[in-house]
């Protein structure tokens, strides 16, 4: 029950204040914003992209709504969630409320007027592009904000990092494309020519973004490892208790497998997209996006306290 010197030596486990619910929230908010952005961009591309754009515009706001369920369930006082928007001048949670709320409202308007139950926007291309332009801007803010939310925490240098918003942005775009690939490959008409072309296009876009994401993951961890203050967090992922999830879950299944699949599917030699493989690749890629959020949330370690020439750890302390 008492504190021992060993417990307080630098190193040890990551943060345990925020757990899987926050990781799930960050992930789903990213997927939703990514799916909406992908759908709206596909809508700009014009004919031939109807299924992908309608699916993305519909799934996006709904996934973001689901994400907030996790955030509210994580509160100690779930009924007080309305107070979360009270201090946008200094708190990134409040700013998040002011980003997510208009995003969901614009997204729902977009669904109601374009997909179901009305189709008013179909004949009004200017209004549609204007609405979707605003929607895309809010979607991008949603993706970046999840990184800034963690980045505002100064004593956790694993989060207080300029690369993190970029990493979350790329992961949100990639998982957004993957949820569309999954939805399209699940549809009974997946072998039809129209869907086939859209699936191919989504895989091509995702290969580019996932490739960038892999590079950013590398440089993010490289940068964290190079700085003594954030090295314990990087070591937790690379060789410590989170290493199995990092290497097997994120690197092999969540990034390498979907990326290799997409590159093979796109090669001139392959004539068609295997829907079963596309489904598997997108499921693994989505799981990778969730694990990425979990690894970053769980791997955050506070800088040790410095006193009398010693370093003392404040996380993982014994209490009574």
């Amino acid at each position: 029950m008492t504190n021992t010197g060993l417990r307080n030596s630098p190193g040890g486990s990551g943060q345990a204040v925020w757990g899987w619910k926050v990781a799930a929230y960050l992930f789903l908010a990213g997927v939703g914003a990514g799916a909406y952005a992908a759908g709206a961009v596909a809508d700009f591309l014009g004919t031939g992209w109807e299924t992908a754009s309608r699916t993305g515009i519909t799934l996006g706001p709904l996934l973001v709504l689901v994400s907030t369920v996790f955030l509210i369930a994580d509160l100690g006082v779930p009924g007080g969630f309305l107070r979360a928007g009270a201090r946008p001048r200094s708190s990134w949670i409040s700013r998040g409320v002011l980003i997510l709320t208009p995003f969901v409202i614009i997204g729902l308007i977009n669904i109601f007027l374009l997909v179901w139950p009305w189709h008013l926007l179909q004949g009004a291309p200017t209004a549609r592009l204007a609405l979707e332009g605003v929607g895309i801007a809010l979607a991008l803010l949603t993706m970046v904000y999840t990184g800034l939310l963690l980045g505002a925490v100064r004593p956790i240098l694993f989060w207080n990092n300029a690369m993190l918003p970029v990493l979350f942005l790329l992961s949100a775009l990639s998982t957004g494309l993957m949820v569309l690939m999954l939805a399209l490959s699940l549809s009974p008409a997946a072998s039809g020519f129209g869907l086939h072309a859209q699936l191919y296009g989504l895989a091509r876009a995702d290969a580019l973004i996932l490739g960038f994401e892999a590079v950013v993951v590398f440089f993010y961890l490289q940068g964290c490892y190079a700085s003594p203050a954030s090295r314990p967090s990087a070591e937790l992922l690379l060789t410590g208790s989170l290493a199995p999830i990092f290497w097997a879950g994120l690197v092999a299944s969540g990034i390498a497998f979907p990326l290799v699949y997409e590159l093979v599917a796109l090669s001139p030699a392959s004539k068609e997209v295997e829907t079963a493989l596309a489904m598997a690749a997108s499921i693994f890629g989505l799981a990778g996006g969730l694990l990425l959020r979990y690894l970053i949330v769980a791997g955050g370690m506070r800088v040790p306290l410095k006193a009398a020439g010693m370093l003392l750890n404040t996380s993982g302390k014994a209490r009574f």
């Binding site: 008492t2 307080n8 204040v17 100690g76 007080g80 107070r83 928007g85 306290l305 009574f320």
Partner: protein, 212 residues
């Protein structure tokens, strides 16, 4: 305006945990919640070994990181320099716990007794204080909220020092106003080289330590 703070003399501290227990007794904190925690560390190998006891509490920072991230406005920097949590406003998001560099904040996620389901008579007093009892019924109020040291606001109202200071048998703790240049705490910081924990994080703590 005042800036209540504390000076802890690490040379006088004998690491007895008296402050930690006095705080628990005074504030009825449940298991796992220690507003005043003593951290310990050892360094070196035989025969050149050093030990350090570092008594912790809320640093009542001049630039509190917890207050900046609080989305509901529950955490407030008061006129007297202390940082407080309003249990009515707190939504238990724990952003402040993540942002505090000192680990001085605690989440009271559910009611917990020291000995099973049954409250001890002592815990009964803490949960439901009798009429005229000066201690605040903190336990009953703050489930689902984040809580922390408030420099014994109920004792200060009666012009008593915080419990951890009154109870320190080594006289290693001093309480006072850091804004008053003639106060004992200001003099100690000035004359004995008082230092703050991790000042590079920009929090400007109101708890100073005197070097070993």
């Amino acid at each position: 305006m005042a800036r209540y703070g504390m000076v802890i003399d690490l040379k006088r501290c004998i690491g007895c945990y008296g402050c930690q227990i006095a705080c628990k007794a005074e504030n009825f904190t449940p298991p796992g919640i220690t507003w005043a925690l003593v951290l310990k560390n050892e360094q070196g190998s035989f025969p050149a070994v050093r030990r350090l006891s570092l008594p912790m509490l809320c640093m009542h920072c001049a630039e509190p990181a917890c207050e900046k991230v609080c989305p509901s406005g529950a955490t407030v920097k008061e006129e007297d320099g202390t940082v407080t949590v309003d249990y009515e406003t707190c939504i238990g998001c724990r952003y402040c716990m993540v942002a505090c560099p000192y680990g001085s904040r605690y989440f009271n996620d559910r009611e917990l007794n020291y000995y099973g389901d049954q409250r001890t008579p002592y815990e009964e007093v803490g949960a439901d204080p009798p009429e005229g009892w000066e201690s605040k019924p903190r336990r009953a109020r703050c489930t689902g909220r984040v809580e922390k040291c408030d420099l014994c606001s109920h004792r200060r109202e009666q012009e008593l020092e915080p419990a951890c200071v009154a109870n320190c048998m080594a006289k290693a703790r001093y309480f006072g106003d850091l804004d008053d240049p003639y106060s004992e705490v200001s003099r100690l910081v000035r004359e004995k080289g008082g230092f703050q924990l991790n000042p590079e994080l920009g929090t400007d703590p109101s708890v100073y330590y005197l070097p070993v």
